[in-house]
């Protein structure tokens, strides 16, 4: 993967506003006031759903963008967290449902997912490039079949239903507006964490490993450990996304984590662009909109063609996704002009 956007690096001088960037602030304001202007369907089915899938794609972006490892098993990691919530929390299927309170359950589920992710990282450690894609795809498919066939733990093809989001502080967190804010909070947290980590010592080391693992090994870095830790971090985000997903659906079954879901994560990450953490979220919004409204545009039967064509268009025209297109557009307005506008505006 080519180097990440340098444009995103904040100016270290200048005011606080300049450091964060006016555009980011506008985006945050919009996201916060969004529930006031959108319908209930759009708040949850488009808004919250995009944020959840954005988080899943973000977990892939960490591995692929910063680590150079494309993993198709992110949805399985999310599935581990989701199934943990279903099995150890409450469900109405009558199978398991040990009723752990959410404040133990959620950290446990996310941690378990991250550990499984680390395990996957360990397994695929010696592979690279297309081989990594294939071994993680095999893990994802194998896990899907296992959840489908096993009734003792995973309740097979039917899965678990009636999984409720928790109610605390007097709020039902699955009600449209609270749930949206919950997802927004988690997404912003993940985004900020990734952005911060990418500039930390670990993040830079990871990118160096991506660029030249041999040299890093020669310099004395433990390449394996860095890669596995990257999987662990991505597992934390994917796990959180998985918990939110199971609360969103209220259910989980093998169909949630099948091969097309795994490919969906990749499609979202690619369409959005993997050079900056905002990319996966952009991609998620686009894909969710297409998935929801394609049936009205081209009819139910051909919506797969529509998504496939959009995907092909993006990959051919702009390998870095929407972000890449935006980068090219931005090149027409030089940075200096923009920042002088701010300075002039402040008098």
């Amino acid at each position: 993967m080519s180097e990440l956007l340098t444009a995103a690096r904040p100016r270290l001088d200048g005011t606080f506003l300049e450091r964060i960037g006016l555009g980011n602030i506008a985006l945050v304001i919009f996201l916060v006031i969004y529930p006031a202007v959108a319908s209930e369907f759009f708040i949850v089915q488009i808004g919250a759903y995009s944020l959840i899938w954005g988080m899943l794609a973000l977990s892939l972006m960490i591995l692929a963008g910063y680590g150079g490892m494309v993993s198709m098993a992110q949805i399985s990691i999310a599935g581990v967290a989701g199934y943990t919530v279903a099995i150890f929390g409450m469900n109405h299927t009558g199978v398991h449902g040990f009723g752990w309170p959410f404040w133990i359950l959620v950290p446990f589920a996310v941690l378990l997912a991250a550990l499984v992710a680390g395990l996957i990282g360990l397994i695929s450690n010696r592979t690279e490039g297309i081989y990594t894609i294939m071994i993680t795809l095999a893990v994802a498919t194998g896990f899907f079949y296992f959840t489908q066939q096993n009734y003792a733990l995973f309740n097979g093809h039917s899965g678990f239903a009636g999984i409720d989001a928790p109610k605390f502080w007097g709020i039902n967190w699955r009600a449209p507006v609270p749930f949206y804010y919950l997802c927004l909070g988690c997404a912003v947290l993940s985004y900020a964490a990734v952005l911060y980590a990418s500039r930390s010592a670990y993040g830079l080391t990871l990118q160096a490993v991506r660029d030249n693992a041999r040299r890093m090994r020669a310099l004395g870095y433990d390449v394996t450990r860095h890669k596995v830790v990257a999987y662990f971090y991505s597992g934390l985000i994917a796990g959180m996304g998985g918990v939110l997903l199971v609360w969103f659906n209220g259910r989980i079954s093998p169909g949630t984590i099948d091969v097309s879901a795994a490919i969906n994560v990749l499609v979202i990450a690619v369409i959005g662009g993997m050079r900056h953490p905002i990319g996966p979220f952009l991609g998620a919004v686009v894909v969710v909109l297409i998935q929801t409204f394609a049936i009205d545009v081209v009819g139910a039967e051909r919506y797969n063609t529509l998504i496939g064509l959009v995907f092909l268009l993006i990959v051919f025209a702009s390998p870095d996704g929407i972000l890449g297109l935006w980068e090219k557009a931005k090149l027409r307005a030089p940075r200096e002009q923009v920042f002088s506008w701010i300075r002039c505006g402040r008098g």
């Binding site: 369907f41 089915q45 489908q148 097979g156 079954s253 139910a300 307005a333």
Partner: protein, 412 residues
């Protein structure tokens, strides 16, 4: 910076479209079926059945024009709930007919509980627990479930055909579990034995090993596979020189399999089966229904049980709406009261609901015959009248039999 703000504003504009206010003179009804993936053919036939009912009412109900909004799933429960959400929350339907497959039905039932002011009617989903255990007060199933569909078959093959030992081959999920349950409940009670049950993973294509592992001393093989799997199994069975006769599940000898091309005809002839419809039903109501169904584009020679189920449920919805004059302003309470008491004649006989809002209807015992022009049909042998969900057994005794699963029931 400015471009970023503009971009954000444009995005905001796109995302803002609230649900459109429903037009005052149309009645919106959502139809949820599988229009993606391997079950598409079945979903399309279900849609044809629903549209046959709509055409019977000439597209109007209670003075308003019927507006059908399609929801598409790929037979996975998640996609069904997502499609239902879009129909209910975005398109604003107050009456929803669907879904198609068993596991989807279980998921839609759970969703229905969260939307008490929307009335849900079944499509063709036939898993038992959708209504038997923990039912939703606003989910109505005017079609029968997979165990009901097997009524009469166990006794027929034991007594009339003389099969004492039968092996079963079925897919490994809830609907086949229900079908095998329905068959074995009668067959084992009559004295039959099932020495081997083969549960094949969904999507298995190569059955030759399964065929070879079936014990050789069985009198017949009960096959509850559907669609592509059934065609595969039957072809390989015929190629492997299979000798034991077959007993069919309801979707094994359905039109979608009978109209497949190939040499499987020889193997299928004489196979008994049972289900909610019979192709050669001589009743004039059935013939009228077939004629009306054939007017739909792309129709098969005979409607499949999916078309029939969607027809019955859609007709019930329209009858209910007609009774309350399209008035769903009270959250559908009047409509649901009307539906609970609804009794009407379908092409396959009288249909009414039990206390869990599951259908009580006639079940047809059939056998596959070959017509002079070479096509295969299910010939009607016997009608088992007014079968209820507990198969005539008292409810608490029936519930004690336990949930359907790989090992329940068992009579080796």
């Amino acid at each position: 910076m400015r471009s970023k703000i503009n971009y954000a504003l444009a995005l905001a504009g796109m995302l803002m479209a609230p649900a459109m206010a429903s037009a005052q003179d149309t009645m919106k009804i959502g139809v949820l079926a599988t229009f993606e993936g391997a079950f598409t053919v079945l979903g399309e036939d279900g849609m044809r059945g629903a549209m046959t009912a709509v055409d019977e009412f000439h597209g109007m109900v209670g003075g308003k024009k019927i507006e059908i909004i399609k929801g598409s799933s790929d037979a996975s429960p998640d996609s069904a709930v997502r499609a239902a959400r879009k129909l209910v929350e975005q398109d604003g339907v107050k009456v929803l007919v669907g879904p198609l497959s068993g596991d989807e039905g279980l998921a839609i039932k759970d969703y229905a509980k969260t939307k008490p002011d929307v009335t849900f009617l079944n499509g063709s989903s036939a898993a038992q627990d959708t209504t038997l255990r923990d039912p939703a007060p606003n989910f109505f199933r005017f079609s029968t479930d997979g165990a009901q569909w097997m009524a009469g078959l166990g006794n027929y093959v034991y007594k009339e055909k003389g099969y004492k030992r039968v092996a079963t081959v079925a897919e490994d999920y809830s609907f086949p579990y229900t079908q095998v349950f329905g068959f074995m409940a009668e067959f084992c009670k009559a004295g039959g034995h099932v020495p081997a049950k083969a549960w094949v993973p969904i999507g298995t294509k190569d059955y030759s090993s399964v065929i070879a592992a079936i014990p050789e001393d069985v009198d017949a093989i009960y096959v509850a596979l559907g669609g592509a799997d059934a065609v595969n199994f039957l072809t390989q069975y015929e190629q492997a020189g299979g000798k034991a006769p077959l007993i069919g599940g309801s979707i094994t000898v359905d039109q979608t399999v009978l109209t497949s091309k190939g040499k499987i005809h020889d193997v299928l002839i004489g196979t008994p089966s049972a289900g909610p419809t019979a192709d050669s039903n001589p009743s004039p109501e059935w013939k009228a229904f077939v004629a009306a169904y054939k007017k739909q584009p792309g129709a098969f020679p005979v409607p499949s049980l999916f078309a029939h189920a969607y027809y019955v449920n859609m007709k019930a919805a329209l009858l209910g709406l007609q009774q309350v004059g399209d008035d769903v302003s009270d959250g559908g309470a009047k409509l649901r009261a009307a539906l609970s008491k609804l009794v009407f004649e379908t092409p396959t006989g009288k249909v009414s609901l039990d206390e869990n809002r599951n259908a009580i209807a006639d079940i047809f015992l059939t056998e596959v015959v070959k017509l002079p022009d070479g096509t295969l049909f299910n010939k009607l042998i016997k009608v088992t009248p007014q079968v209820n969900q507990t198969l005539g057994i008292p409810r608490d005794e029936f519930l004690k039999l336990g949930k359907v699963g790989r090992d329940n029931p068992s009579c080796p």
